[in-house]
């Protein structure tokens, strides 16, 4: 656990540096899901499992997670949102091992993941498929199409995580088109849905390891957008890059962060 915590700390610092050096926004959604991404990739996923980042605007969190696993180098990360790069602001499905699809337009991941899950089941392979969505993303009708299908197909090898940070592009989710009650809505479709603290690594791991017999598993991660940053839980965290002072303050926070 200590080793994981240290890796997580370094990865958060690297994510912070990545966005700061690239003068890139979208920090909020990256820091709301980095705990779950790291827990999933380091403590649950096996090499043969599949992962789709449906909330493609958290590409930085995925890239640094892959960096923490040794799949991307520091040189690779330096090319983030630069010219002639394999690391655009939303992930491309070509060029980076493990990235299967180009994502960024919301609402695509659940169907793609369902297709992978059907294929793996048909091949009689015991691999798991994981897909990370945002909460605003569930305003897309295609997510519900995919959920309906996945429940009907009893895709128990499929897990969809939803980063419920409560903020989206131009306001709070509950004030735009509310997704606050995602859990009962999704449960009503017949999926095994649970809610966990999306910054509690042990709780995330336990949820990911709970069996989901006869149904896809949906894990709703209660998170804080931009956790650890000066604009945590504020709309600005969706767009704005960091000034030097804000960067140094955030570095200090993550260097001192105490893990439960």
């Amino acid at each position: 656990m200590t080793c994981f915590n240290e890796t997580l700390r370094l990865t958060k610092l690297r994510l912070l540096q990545l966005h700061y050096e690239a003068n890139c926004g979208h920090l909020g959604g990256n820091f709301s899901c980095i705990d779950a991404l790291m827990t999933l990739h380091h403590r649950v996923m096996k090499p043969e499992d599949r992962f789709i980042l449906s909330k493609g605007h958290s590409a930085g969190a995925l890239y640094t997670t892959l960096w923490s696993l040794g799949h991307l180098s520091d040189t690779d990360l330096k090319s983030f949102i630069q010219d002639n790069s394999l690391l655009p602001g939303h992930p491309s499905g070509s060029g980076i091992p493990g990235l299967l699809f180009s994502t960024g337009s919301l609402g695509h991941g659940p169907s793609l993941a369902a297709g992978l899950a059907v294929a793996l089941r048909h091949k009689r392979l015991n691999h798991q498929v994981f897909c990370l969505c945002s909460d605003g993303e569930w305003q897309e009708g295609s997510c519900w199409e995919a959920l309906n299908f996945s429940v009907h197909q009893r895709l128990e090898n499929l897990t969809i995580l939803i980063d419920q940070n409560g903020l989206q592009g131009f306001g709070r989710t509950k004030q735009i088109v509310s997704c606050e009650d995602l859990l009962p809505r999704i449960s009503a479709f017949g999926a095994n849905a649970i809610r966990v603290n999306g910054h509690d690594h042990a709780a995330i791991e336990e949820a990911l390891r709970t069996s989901s017999e006869g149904s896809p598993r949906i894990i709703i991660l209660e998170t804080t957008k931009g956790r650890g940053l000066h604009f945590a839980d504020k709309l600005e965290s969706h767009y704005l890059p960091l000034s030097q002072e804000e960067y140094l303050t955030a570095r200090n926070f993550f260097e001192q962060e105490i893990f439960e």
């Binding site: 491309s92 499905g93 070509s94 299967l100 699809f101 180009s102 994502t103 337009s105 609402g107 695509h108 659940p110 169907s111 793609l112 993941a113 369902a114 297709g115 992978l116 899950a117 059907v118 294929a119 793996l120 048909h122 091949k123 009708g141 295609s142 199409e145 995919a146 309906n148 299908f149 009907h152």
Partner: protein
């Protein structure tokens, strides 16, 4: 063409590496495919965005996938899924749009597909428009990347043998220029002009791949200094004529004159059968024949 398609799927694609997805369509056509494919046949319900996403997921795991629906539900509704999920990954998914052009006639404009080839070509999808039922087996062996197969109703003149499939085929010889006709319209033109003599009719070519193959040199030769006719049950924008004339211009092989008959939408705001809509666009047999005899008559007077 639906039943011929189903037969061709059974003959060419009933292999362990193929999945068949349908958007809840195929009554009295796909039952045998369903039975033969077993769990590799999935009725996806009325959810076309999901159908295409799932198709991409299957294809990413090395399956070839056929995704079938009424044409506009197949290419227009899930347009972004086609673009991002299939085309960016160059995945082997064949979208099958039944009822190309006005083929769904009386069902109304929501069921017509008039801009499908342009939309799919613009994404880099290989567009296949069979002219005859016999073309389907050959076409279904070509699903190596993103593909759109537009199904319609064949027109086949009585007592005429259909030449073997090729992306461009000469169906009828003629000395008065050449007709390039998209898919089934070629059979209609063939039938309409069959009894005219060689000097008073153009040749008739069936074009089944409007954007992705080289124009035969024989066709270019036939239009040199003569009239090029393009017939397509598809809007002008991004259709066969635009693709063809661009490529001819690039090669400096321009005809003396271009006469283009595309789909015109709904010019009088009224709706009817496929034959009704074709007639409104000058794409019925009588209109095609009178177009040719009119041009021939005018050119003789000029001479």
């Amino acid at each position: 063409m639906r039943k011929a398609f189903a037969g061709a799927v059974l003959a060419q694609c009933n292999r362990p590496d193929f999945f068949f997805l349908t958007g809840d369509l195929g009554f009295m056509a796909l039952e045998e495919v369903q039975a033969s494919f077993g769990e590799r046949f999935i009725n996806m319900g009325v959810a076309e965005q999901n159908m295409i996403g799932v198709a991409a997921g299957l294809a990413r795991e090395s399956f070839r996938v056929i995704a079938y629906s009424i044409a506009p539900f197949c290419y227009a509704r899930p347009f972004e899924q086609i673009r991002n999920d299939i085309c960016l990954g160059k995945l082997p998914v064949c979208l099958v749009g039944n009822g190309g052009g006005y083929a769904y006639g009386h069902m109304g404009p929501t069921h017509h597909a008039l801009e499908d080839c342009a939309a799919m070509s613009a994404l880099g999808v290989r567009v296949l428009v069979p002219a005859f039922d016999d073309d389907l087996p050959a076409l279904l062996t070509q699903i190596d990347g993103p593909t759109y197969l537009r199904l319609g109703y064949e027109v086949r003149p009585a007592n005429q043998a259909v030449p073997q499939y090729a992306p461009w085929r000469e169906l009828l010889p003629g000395n008065g220029g050449a007709i390039a006709a998209l898919g089934p319209i070629a059979g209609l033109a063939w039938e309409a002009l069959l009894d005219l003599d060689l000097d008073s009719r153009p040749s008739v070519w069936a074009v089944c791949e409007p954007a992705s193959v080289e124009i035969p040199s024989e066709f270019s030769r036939q239009i040199e200094g003569k009239t090029l006719y393009v017939l397509e049950e598809h809007v002008a924008q991004g259709g066969l004529a635009m693709n063809l004339t661009l490529r001819l211009a690039e090669h400096g092989a321009l005809p003396r004159q271009l006469i283009h008959r595309p789909a015109l939408g709904y010019p009088n705001g009224r709706f009817g059968s496929q034959a009704f809509h074709r007639a409104q666009c000058g794409l019925d047999a009588a209109s095609i024949r009178s177009m040719i005899t009119g041009v021939h008559h005018a050119s003789r007077q000029q001479a």
